[in-house]
């Protein structure tokens, strides 16, 4: 038995955390579980892939690997643009579908509509890119030992660093800025937020942009570490919700903590029980937390 599962789990957990923040924010601010969030992840990965191809074709040398990483600047630049695009996709979906249903006050219908949007987006990605997996890079990465029997690749190290920076940025946004205070206010008490002069529609737009762009970051990360396929986001949905609920829905630090727990538990299960049990872990954690402490680790009771 080695401690490799801790490293693997933390990396998977960081990725799940990026997605779970969007789930938890959508749930607490818009008050519905968005099942299309997984497709934001897949869309982000494919958008990055296309853009990276275009950037690589225009700027020769941008596909040259950065240091010992497997990717060049083209993927980094493409990822940043794709984050904005995924945020816009989330906004468009809200404008076309969710906003109308929200105005009618139909919470369950909104959840069902997100199922529909999820299927439609997934089918569209499958239609455009086929279901065959693809990759940002086919470079082989050598995992370096970092002590305690743990090995990590340069890509994994870089992604952990990027995720940590993103998580800190989100935390600062929510706790130190007027935008973040407005988001917390709407999540706690929408009508009081309105009489306090907060434009709730603006907060909703910010939530979609933020959730969408973080989902894209998770998609790029997953694409780099594993592969890009139309079901990549959908398959991540259960861990995302498990993390968000485990941490206490509405709590961003909770979602990240929940994600790390889900990630490490999954990796531990792979090492100790067998890889076929991986998917069951999130399900068990989710069932367990709903039975024992439905408000989650950091959640407040309503």
């Amino acid at each position: 038995m080695t401690l490799q599962f801790v490293a693997d789990g933390l990396i998977a957990g960081a990725l799940i955390g990026l997605g779970a923040i969007g789930v938890t924010l959508t749930y607490s601010i818009l008050r519905f579980a968005n099942f299309a969030h997984g497709e934001f992840i897949s869309f982000g990965a494919y958008a990055t892939l296309l853009l990276a191809g275009a950037i690589g074709a225009i700027f020769a040398g941008s596909t040259q690997s950065i240091g010992s990483l497997s990717i060049g600047w083209a993927v980094v630049a493409a990822g940043l643009i794709a984050m904005a695009l995924t945020g816009l996709l989330a906004l468009a979906l809200d404008f076309l579908v969710f906003r109308r249903l929200r105005e009618k006050g139909a919470a369950i219908t909104t959840v069902m509509a997100s199922f529909g949007a999820s299927m439609a987006l997934r089918a569209l990605l499958e239609f455009m890119f086929t279901s065959r997996p693809t990759y940002f890079s086919r470079d082989l990465q050598i995992a370096m030992p970092i002590g305690l029997g743990i090995r990590v690749t340069p890509d994994q190290m870089a992604l952990l660093g990027v995720t940590a920076a993103l998580l800190i940025a989100v935390h600062l946004l929510l706790t130190r800025t007027q935008t973040g205070r407005a988001m917390r206010a709407v999540s706690e008490n929408p009508s009081l937020a309105r009489v306090a002069g907060i434009d709730v529609d603006r907060v909703v737009r910010t939530t979609w942009l933020l959730g969408g762009s973080l989902a894209c970051a998770a998609g790029v990360m997953l694409g780099l570490l594993v592969q890009i396929r139309p079901y990549m986001g959908f398959d991540l949905l259960l861990p995302l919700f498990a993390a968000a609920i485990l941490g206490g829905i509405g709590s961003v630090p909770g979602a990240v903590a929940g994600a790390l727990i889900v990630g490490v538990s999954e990796a531990a299960a792979v090492q100790m029980v067998g890889a076929e049990w991986r998917a069951a872990v999130a399900f068990l954690l989710l069932s367990g937390i709903l039975l024992i402490k439905p408000t989650g680790l950091f959640g407040k009771s309503e």
């Binding site: 706690e188 009489v195 306090a196």
Partner: protein, 252 residues
């Protein structure tokens, strides 16, 4: 009509309710003069809270008009009404319990220019020294009286022309009610007009200039506050509405 031109807030024949076709407020009219305190009294279910929430933009308005400082605010969203100078504090959940006292005030200061925000927050701390001592505390852990002070401080922070309060005395001890109401008197003295909905008629009539009494979604009675306190017709209306056996004429 002269009355309307002098008034800072005019509610004209307002119809409002949660469900379309089911008005709770059904043709209520009232006015509020600059630096005046007006109280809306009435039995439970008369539509007092619905009226004040509709004025603040929280409940859909089906008919009638709300004019604030000469501007029609009837169809404006709540945050625009707040930015136009009508500050509302709800009866319950009137502070963000999960945020610190300071964050509650900073949030509200978002309407102001960035350069004014901190100074204005410090002015509120000067006005409510209890809050200044607790600025890092979560608002949910404040005592009932301090919570009410924070709610009022939050509303006053942006320098409104009208302060609308839904039952500021709810859940407070009689001593605290006196403290809060004497504060309202100070606030009026600083030039802010106040309209409040109250169950505690005694305390409210003691500070109000005028009072409206609502019944079944309409204004049933109106008059100068001191006289109303001793009016038997008011007592009849206020203590449970028009019961069988009460002559209808007594109300109007």
């Amino acid at each position: 009509m002269n009355d309307i031109r002098r008034a800072i807030l005019v509610v004209d024949n307002l119809v409002a309710g949660y469900e379309p076709g089911l008005p709770i407020v059904n043709g209520a009219s009232l006015s509020l003069g600059a630096a005046e305190i007006v109280v809306i009294l009435g039995p439970n279910g008369a539509g007092k809270s619905t009226l004040i929430k509709a004025v603040a933009g929280l409940i859909p308005i089906a008919g009638g008009k709300v004019i604030l400082a000469g501007k029609d605010i009837t169809r404006l969203p709540a945050h625009q009404i707040a930015r136009n100078g009508l500050a509302f504090t709800p009866q319950t959940e009137n502070v963000f319990a999960g945020m610190t006292v300071d964050d509650n005030l900073r949030l509200a200061s978002g309407i102001l220019a960035v350069s004014q925000r901190r100074a204005r927050i410090e002015e509120m701390y000067a006005l409510f020294p209890d809050l200044a001592r607790q600025r890092r505390l979560l608002a949910g852990r404040l005592s009932g009286g301090q919570r009410q002070m924070l709610a009022i401080g939050r509303a006053l922070l942006v320098g409104p022309s009208v302060l609308a309060l839904d039952e500021p005395s709810a859940g407070l001890s009689p001593r605290l009610v006196d403290v809060v109401f004497s504060r309202l008197n100070d606030i009026r003295a600083s030039g802010v007009a106040i309209v409040l909905v109250e169950q505690n008629a005694r305390a409210a009539l003691a500070i109000a200039d005028r009072a409206y009494i609502m019944s079944e979604g309409r204004i049933a009675h109106e008059g100068a506050a001191p006289g109303l306190a001793t009016d038997p017709a008011v007592a009849a209306l206020y203590l449970g509405g028009l019961k069988a056996g009460t002559p209808r004429g007594a109300a109007s």
